[in-house]
Symmetry: C2
Subunit: 513 residues, 2 copies
């Protein structure tokens, strides 16, 4: 444990070195944004949404269910309690959040070179979360197992474009419901050294996550340092349940970060309009974030948004369509005005397979999230079928996009080398730049090289067997897993983690609910 | 002919009515942008690129090949001529372009309700251009024919998201090289009533296009009205050839619009950097646009950009990667500062089939073009394999994206109905919005409905035969062609067009080059 602590001391220097490196995408712990965020709403429009959110909080209120302690806290802070309904005087939530919630925070990794910073001009890319199924080209669609979970932790560890190991990268349904969180948290700790998320499905499981993190990072470290960023979904509309409130409380008390995420299929869980949905998202996020700041002022908290639109024909969720993009651009701007980090989804799609539908929808969502200025991009890679499925090939395709986002957000190099006037003078009209000295000097790092696209000639592609993107991605993830090497973990820490898990597992019967 | 002229008189009123209609996407002649353009470069950066472009124009210059008349014109305007090399005093091109090139122009359609406006806050979506091959699910990849050409004109006519019929929607290689332009231009005139592009492969063919347009619109109309927007590619780097200059001259003299497009595979035809490529694009576009304004001051001209990056491994063009996106954002901003309309590509991709690679790459390019503020988006639909192939199924998928772009650029409705506070008050915590009065009232137009995505449950999708996007798109284009009905064309005009074509075709031998 002291070994883990000692390694961490070099963190800042390592990070600075990594950022200055010319192969930043290979070693980056986040993307540092050099281009503006895209704004679709002017100040007047944003103020209107904020005013309406305050009206919602004041008149309609938010329900905090089966959480009497939370109601007491909120009451003491000035909210009006009516049964489980909590109404907030205009401006109270904003004032409480802005008074103590940090605008950015470090999330420590057990390898200090992987410690990331969430907030500000940074973008952290995180794999998809929560699917009960997996899909690959060979086995098709099937229930996920702990082996799949480990595989996605390993693949994420090996993907330079992903800065974070995520949380429930898939749901290991082969393990008892009340015990699988141990194996999930342990897998992140053991098979990766990137930062990760804790369990939120029960306050006890949040506490188990904290306890395991204490073993990994050393007793006492967590109280002053954040090592987990965990996902607290609202039960939209305008409701938080006891499970999520309880988990949020555990994390906030321990100085661990929470992402307060209204989870919205617009049209069902919010109004059928962009402005109405934005209003509700802001109100729900404000109420949840306020709660974390009452539990422990200064505990890191992220303004989350998951917004899809339902099909008005079938009621099914849809993805990659324009209205949720507008919601995302707006919500990111609202979060910036609150000076808190912002989370959204990444490569969301509704398609059952990683086909063109999946890719159009995912690219639309990834581009939107990148340009909106998302700080914590959950679901960056792997998502299929509205989140029901984690796809192996889809994961590979999305990480290619993740790499591209890093290049896009880095913006335009305006140095003398970037201006390339020497190259233009050297080559001149009608010639070509391939052999120019400037081209040769910049050969290695010029232009993003896709990991999965085929840009060969048609004839070459035919000769190679007419492989589509799925087939190529299939080869890639298999090669990655075959060459995986675990990052070193102190043996004493590993044994302590395993012993803790065994003892806790033995203390309770298996449950399937 | 007089019939055609008379119908046009109702054009403005029709357009206004169309824009005010609640089903704007169905009848729109362009997208009217309500959200800002995304800017990645600040004023200082843009001024640096402009300064460098002027340095290029002044020191290196641009070649105008085998075009003595053009050299004379340029010389008289103050450029320095050295053989075929033309050097422009700093600021001359900008001054000449800004003095007379219109910031926007109407491109008339034979159906005045389809007349579009190019420039300003408008976006006009146009099908792909120039591929010698076509691909569909049944027949695979094969050389394009005039039947394919007609099919894509018909499909474009039937696609509400495309505002323009385009030009060489595919290359009808079954017709003689020197005669196929007649059949292409005629097909646009006969099978669609949307605005279209003329031939540019020889000055004579540009003149044939003008002559046919004179028949369609009535003698004398063209001199004061623009009815074609045609594509003049530069031979990058820094060269214009006699063919393109000759075609540009014919169109400008006749008050017809040209798109002056540097055609750049960066790394081969421009420096390997974004800033260097932007500099060259601006210089080439300025030189070409200047030429059109010398031919006829005030002739509509569009600042064009086609920029891809080559693979530094294989030299193959790549698409949908971040550097060309940065180029596009920058070039659009440079065009805005010149106060001229801007053209780019749309759904560009390198994939051989309409698979996930095609979709990621196309979506990335389409999103970028939409947010950059492109006015004339060529290649919006159908493009495959770096432009070598026009895809039937790809076309259907891309038009779905085109529809979405219209919704995205419309931005957020902040009316009282858009704010939806009544819905929020009505529904409250824990309930759902599906049955709310506000939801019911907005049911019909709430949320974009994809034409090609499958959002059904996995079980339903399996029951429907596990169709992927390509299979669904295949059904759609066949149904569209089966239900196609030609827009009415005055019989006398039709006969005059056919007679003109026959006479011209008879006057020359078939050529295959």
């Amino acid at each position: 444990m002291s070994g883990a602590r000692k390694r961490r001391s070099g963190g800042r220097a390592n990070r600075v070195a990594a950022r200055q490196s010319s192969v930043a995408v290979e070693t980056a712990t986040f993307i540092e944004r050099k281009i503006p965020c895209f704004e679709i709403l002017n100040q007047e429009a944003l103020e209107l949404i904020e005013y309406n959110a305050d009206t919602l909080l004041e008149e309609v209120g938010i329900e905090f269910r089966e959480a009497p302690a939370a109601l007491e806290l909120l009451n003491a802070a000035g909210a009006e309690i009516d049964g489980e309904r909590v109404r907030f005087p205009r401006g109270l939530c904003r004032q409480l959040v802005m008074a103590s919630a940090p605008s950015e925070y470090s999330q420590h990794a057990r390898n200090p070179a992987r410690t990331t910073i969430i907030g500000g001009d940074r973008t952290v890319l995180v794999p998809a979360y929560g699917s009960p199924f997996v899909r690959d080209l060979d086995g098709g669609r099937r229930y996920a197992t702990i082996e799949d979970f480990r595989n996605f932790v390993k693949l994420t560890y090996m993907s330079p474009g992903l800065h974070h190991s995520g949380g429930t990268v898939c749901e290991p349904v082969d393990l008892p419901v009340n015990k699988r969180h141990f194996d999930m948290v342990y897998s992140h700790m053991k098979y990766s050294d990137k930062p990760f998320m804790g369990s939120v499905t029960h306050p006890d499981r949040a506490q188990d996550s904290v306890d395991m993190a204490n073993i990994l990072f050393g007793e006492g470290f967590l109280d002053q340092n954040t090592v987990m960023t965990s996902l607290i979904n609202a039960n939209s509309p305008m409701t938080f349940d006891a499970t999520m409130l309880g988990a949020a409380k555990v994390y906030a008390e321990n100085n661990q970060a929470t992402v307060i995420s209204p989870f919205i299929l617009a049209g069902a869980m919010s109004p059928v309009t962009v402005a109405g949905t934005l209003t509700q998202i802001l109100a729900e996020a404000l109420a949840g974030m306020t709660y974390t700041q009452l539990v422990r002022p200064g505990a890191p908290v992220v303004f989350g948004t998951f917004a899809s639109a339902i099909s008005m024909q079938s009621g099914a969720p849809t993805f990659g369509t324009p209205e949720p993009s507008l919601v995302l651009y707006g919500a990111a701007a609202l979060a910036r005005r609150l000076k808190v980090p912002f989370r959204s989804g990444g490569g969301l799609c509704g398609s059952k397979t990683p086909d063109a539908q999946a890719a159009y929808e995912s690219a639309n969502t990834l581009q939107t999230a990148a340009l909106a200025g998302v700080n914590f991009m959950l679901h960056t890679a792997g998502w299929l079928e509205g989140g029901l499925v984690m796809g192996y090939e889809k994961f590979i395709m999305d990480t290619d996009q993740a790499n591209m986002i890093a290049v896009l957000l880095r913006g335009v190099d305006l140095s003398e080398n970037g201006q390339a006037m020497d190259a233009i003078r050297e080559v001149g009209p009608g010639a070509h730049f391939l052999g120019a000295a400037h081209t040769q000097a910049n050969f290695e790092h010029a232009f993003y090289r896709s990991t999965v696209a085929d840009n060969n000639s048609f004839e070459q592609w035919e000769e190679d067997g007419c492989q589509d993107t799925v087939a190529r991605a299939n080869t890639i993830w298999k090669e990655m897993l075959a060459s995986y090497e675990a990052p070193p973990l102190d043996q004493a820490v590993d044994e302590a983690l395993l012993a803790y898990m065994q003892q806790r597992k033995d203390s309770m019967p298996d449950q399937s609910y």
